[in-house]
Amino acid sequence: MAVVCVRGPLCKLAGGRAEHELGEGTVVELLRALECGHPGLGGWILDERGVIRRHINVFVNGERGGDSTAVRAGDRVEVVPAITGG
């Protein structure tokens, strides 16, 4: 199993848990699976097009990943808001 880590409001929407064990696949497939288990997350990480929102970064084992980055058993996926604002 891979582990998907969320923080801040995403953690709250994900049942108050920061870490979630999920299967293998692409980053988007894992995030879809996370949404299925926690419907309140719908629309917060992925938009209607099914892609990761522009100002959310995903790291797989510490390296910047994207929608289609492969995730394998034992990998750690961190979902992090980008450093933006004003």
Binding site: D47, E48, R53, T84
Partner: protein
């Protein structure tokens, strides 16, 4: 007691008070988040706010209780899945004529309807599936549906405005829509382009006169207009004393169908109050003449920008209260229909919207 809901770049501020005696900040919600618009439905007492997180996308939240406590997220605020567009922002929420009905307008040119007071929403398919949609052109703020005008007593009639896809009208509750742009003169376009009905009609704001619903007023991107046929056609009323025909917000006195208020800015290339003075302009003769109302407003070296949702009213006639906010964080108010003004709040974050109730 008047309540002001002030949406800012850094949260929602709730102010309580009365014109002349001062206002206090009674609460703040969504700290740090951009709150584009907030309103209270007087039928239910429910507070609703549109919040566009730069990270997590646009959402509508509502609460029936303490605004300092947790708000509920409304369902259904999204475009159809699997398309090639994402919802960018919710610009406005408006109360429908039928019980429990609310409307919300957003970018990209989308109208949502709620039948349960704002807890759940669905997209208006009639407008979303307009055949010309792929040719609609966005303004600088995106393809924003920013104005929703209901028709008092008739829930089937609506007028909405999209920048820059112009005016859209329905008389069957939103099943079918037609344009209402006749008479608008987008001087920023080449003359040959005027024949193209999809060429940008950059409407900035519209309001309907509730006592005479076929009367409407518009602040256009270069022009102030009036319609006497429910938004089908428009006449330029931007002469008669206005220092500029550019601006964003517009308000009416519900008691007087001949009234309108605008807050002119210099021009599209210089979006600040003209001559360094802050003034609201009022007409009481359908736009034939305009009079400056600035007593109590900053009168020198004041270069303010007032956004399209940052002008609101409460009451009517002799008790008409007017309020507006600026991107420099001030809120001004008048308790006598614009004759005199005072500063309600200052040093707030940039003000996106003001709602008085």
């Amino acid at each position: 007691m008047t309540e002001l809901l002030v949406g800012t770049k850094k949260g929602l501020f709730l102010l309580d008070g009365e014109p002349g005696t001062g206002f206090e900040i009674a609460g703040r919600a969504f700290a740090g988040e951009p709150v584009d618009f907030a309103t209270r439905d007087p039928r239910s007492g429910r507070l609703l706010a549109t919040v566009t997180s730069p990270f997590y996308g646009p959402k509508i939240f509502y609460t029936d209780g303490d605004p300092d406590a947790e708000w509920e997220q409304a369902g259904g605020i999204a475009l159809p899945e699997g398309g090639d567009q994402a919802l960018e922002r919710i610009w406005v929420i408006a109360r429908g004529e039928a019980e429990g009905i609310l409307y919300a307008g957003g970018d990209p040119g989308v109208l949502f309807e709620s039948h349960d007071g704002g807890a759940n929403w669905e997209i208006n398919a009639g407008l979303w599936e307009q055949p010309s949609r792929s040719d609609w052109q966005p303004g600088g703020g995106g393809l924003c549906l920013h104005s929703i005008c209901t028709w008092p007593g008739d829930p089937d009639k609506l007028a909405v405005a999209v920048s820059a896809a112009g005016i859209w009208l329905t008389e069957d509750g939103g099943r079918t829509w037609r344009r209402g742009n006749e008479g608008l003169n987008p001087r920023y376009l080449p003359e040959e382009a005027l024949k193209d009905e999809n060429a940008g009609r950059c409407v900035h704001h519209i309001e309907r006169a509730p006592r005479e619903p076929s009367r409407m007023f518009m602040q256009f991107h270069g022009g102030v207009y009036r319609s006497d046929d429910a938004g089908m056609s428009w006449s330029d009323i931007g002469g008669g004393g206005l220092p500029s025909n550019f601006g964003f917000p517009l308000m009416v006195d519900p008691a007087d169908p001949d009234s309108a208020y605008v807050i002119p800015l210099v021009a599209d290339v210089d979006r600040v109050t003209p001559d360094g003075r802050v003034r609201v302009y009022e007409t009481r003769d359908r736009g034939s003449t305009w009079a400056a109302r600035g007593d109590g407003l900053p009168a020198e070296h004041a270069y303010l920008t007032v956004l399209r949702q940052a002008f609101s009213r409460a009451g009517e006639g002799g008790q008409l209260e007017l309020y507006f906010g600026s991107t420099s964080g001030e809120v001004f108010g008048s308790g006598d229909a614009g004759s005199t003004w005072s500063t309600i709040a200052s040093r707030l974050p940039p003000v996106f919207s003001v709602w008085a109730c």
